[in-house]
């Protein structure tokens, strides 16, 4: 027996399909992050960020500055030939390490530094770093940006990195929002952003319009989210030996999804438990969970764009 579905039914099925790509909302991507950082900085719950409240408030100032710098900024889309090439070879269309950046990102960096400097009382080191970045010439800034986007962490200045990353985030978010979700193809490699090829900062189980309990990885650079099946290691794709660690008495919305196979972990946030979760902010604020996971012998699968660590060689 053969049965042909009529087009209306096929369309109805398609609407039920899981959204594979969620592009960032440029009207509020950074302002929501800023609000969440401020909220967490004042939290008194175990391990939720109160202990590094001052740093979270500085990052909130940066995120607000990012939102106003984003304003009407748009980076130029890669040309048709570049897009075709990326598509043919299964590469992300706006690859962070491969795309030629326009100099405009340095203008954004200047704006961010000025906004932070005007925000009031600051530790001397913040003032000095922002002034230094604002006065820096093109060549060293481009070299630092290349190191950041290419993952050459050893060449980085951890004090300047959050501000540089802040400017690059504005640039790439401006770039990502010029695509439509249909233009972005899921990559064969699940662990990197399908827009810019960057590693995710954390994953989030969404319970809003279009996603009821699906898990998305959140790009540390352009804030694009892409679907990944739950209970799967976001690094090695192992499904057998995963454990979800949380702090007793802490937020039920933040857990570390750890893999017994690769011994890595990445945090997973549950919007059902706290509708306000924001991947970059919640990951940064839950620093205590990172320390505990380190003591358990697990390593982070990727860093937070707003906190760069000194790497001790093993």
């Amino acid at each position: 027996m053969e049965r042909v579905l009529d087009p209306a039914r096929i369309e109805a099925f398609a609407e039920r399909a899981i959204a594979r790509i969620r592009l960032p909302d440029r009207r509020q991507a950074f302002s929501r992050r800023a609000a969440r950082l401020r909220q967490l900085s004042a939290s008194e719950r175990a391990g939720e960020g109160g202990a590094i409240g001052d740093y979270l408030r500085l990052m909130a100032v940066l995120a607000d500055a990012q939102q106003s710098a984003l304003g009407s900024f748009t980076a130029a889309r890669p040309n048709a030939e570049a897009l075709r090439l990326a598509s043919t070879h299964g590469m992300p269309p706006a690859h962070a390490a491969g795309l030629t950046r326009e100099p405009s990102w340095r203008g954004i960096l200047g704006e961010l530094c000025s906004s932070v400097l005007e925000s009031g009382e600051l530790p001397a080191a913040v003032r000095e770093t922002c002034e230094r970045l604002r006065g820096a010439s093109a060549a060293p800034l481009e070299a630092q940006a290349d190191a950041l986007l290419g993952g050459r962490v050893v060449e980085l200045d951890p004090a300047a990195a959050p501000f540089l990353m802040g400017a690059l985030q504005v640039y790439w978010l401006g770039l990502a929002t010029q695509f439509t979700p249909k233009e972005i193809k899921p990559l064969e490699v699940h662990g990197v952003c399908p827009v810019c090829g960057t590693l995710p900062v954390a994953s989030v189980v969404r319970v809003d319009k279009g996603s009821c309990g699906n898990r998305y990885l959140h790009c540390a650079l352009c804030a694009t989210e892409w679907h990944m099946v739950r209970i799967t290691c976001s690094c090695c794709q192992e499904t057998k030996d995963l454990t979800y660690h949380s702090i007793e008495g802490g937020s039920p919305a933040v857990r570390a999804e750890s893999c017994g196979s690769c011994r890595g972990y990445r945090k997973i946030l549950y919007q059902e438990k706290d509708p306000g979760v924001e991947p970059v902010a919640d990951d940064l604020a839950s620093l205590a969970l990172d320390v505990l996971m380190g003591m358990e012998g697990y390593h982070r699968l990727s860093g937070n764009p707003l906190l760069w660590l000194e790497l001790a060689a093993h």
């Binding site: 391990g47 202990a51 702090i247």
Partner: protein, 196 residues
């Protein structure tokens, strides 16, 4: 981020925080590090499974405390539909939504029980006894009632006096094996809960 993964592991510790953005920008990680000593890690697992009730075979996720490695007292505390499952996309019917009570039901069978003919009570027996008894009764019935040929001489090799109803939450492989075992015995009355 090749250089991190190849040469060193990214761990957050007193040492790595000492040279981090946070410390270099003039903030202190001391309070955060001191606070951590008071905290305890809780471990939970999420496990995929299939709802055992009906033919739809909805995917479920079972949440439990404890990890499998140190699993002496792992207990399931929540079950919900698997949002990634193509059949139910995270939804469950009222029966499936009540699975947690099925698991923790005080009336749930934990071991084989036997009620002798004429007796009014059930008694606990071992798995070996239960399987041995089943096999013996099946063999006796098969020996007594196996039909090799019909009265008009047609070879049939069938066993009509015993039937089998298989479970719905089986994988294709389990279904294949069940089919092979039952059919090789000659049983014709064979159905699956997944068809109901």
């Amino acid at each position: 981020m090749t250089e991190i993964t190849r040469r060193q592991f990214l761990t957050v510790s007193a040492a790595s925080l000492a040279g981090s953005s946070l410390a270099l920008l003039g903030f202190s990680p001391t309070t955060a590090l001191a606070e951590v000593r008071e905290f305890k890690l809780a471990r939970a697992t999420e496990t995929r499974n299939t709802c055992p009730y009906c033919a739809v075979a909805c995917g479920v996720i079972m949440y439990s405390w404890g990890d499998r490695a140190q699993n002496a007292t792992s207990s399931i505390f929540h079950i919900e539909g698997d949002p990634d499952h193509p059949v139910n996309r995270g939804t469950l019917c009222p029966k499936g939504a009540g699975l947690i009570d099925f698991i923790h039901s005080p009336d749930r069978l934990h071991y084989p029980q036997y009620r002798a003919p004429g007796s009014d009570r059930w008694g606990r027996i071992s798995w070996d006894d239960a399987l041995g008894r089943l096999a013996k009764l099946m063999k006796a019935d098969r020996d007594a009632n196996f039909v090799t040929r019909t009265p008009d001489g047609l070879t049939v090799n069938r066993w009509l006096t015993t039937g089998m109803l298989a479970a719905s939450a089986s994988s294709s492989e389990v279904g294949y094996l069940t089919h092979k075992v039952i059919r090789s015995l000659g049983i014709l009355s064979f159905d699956n809960q997944a068809r109901v």
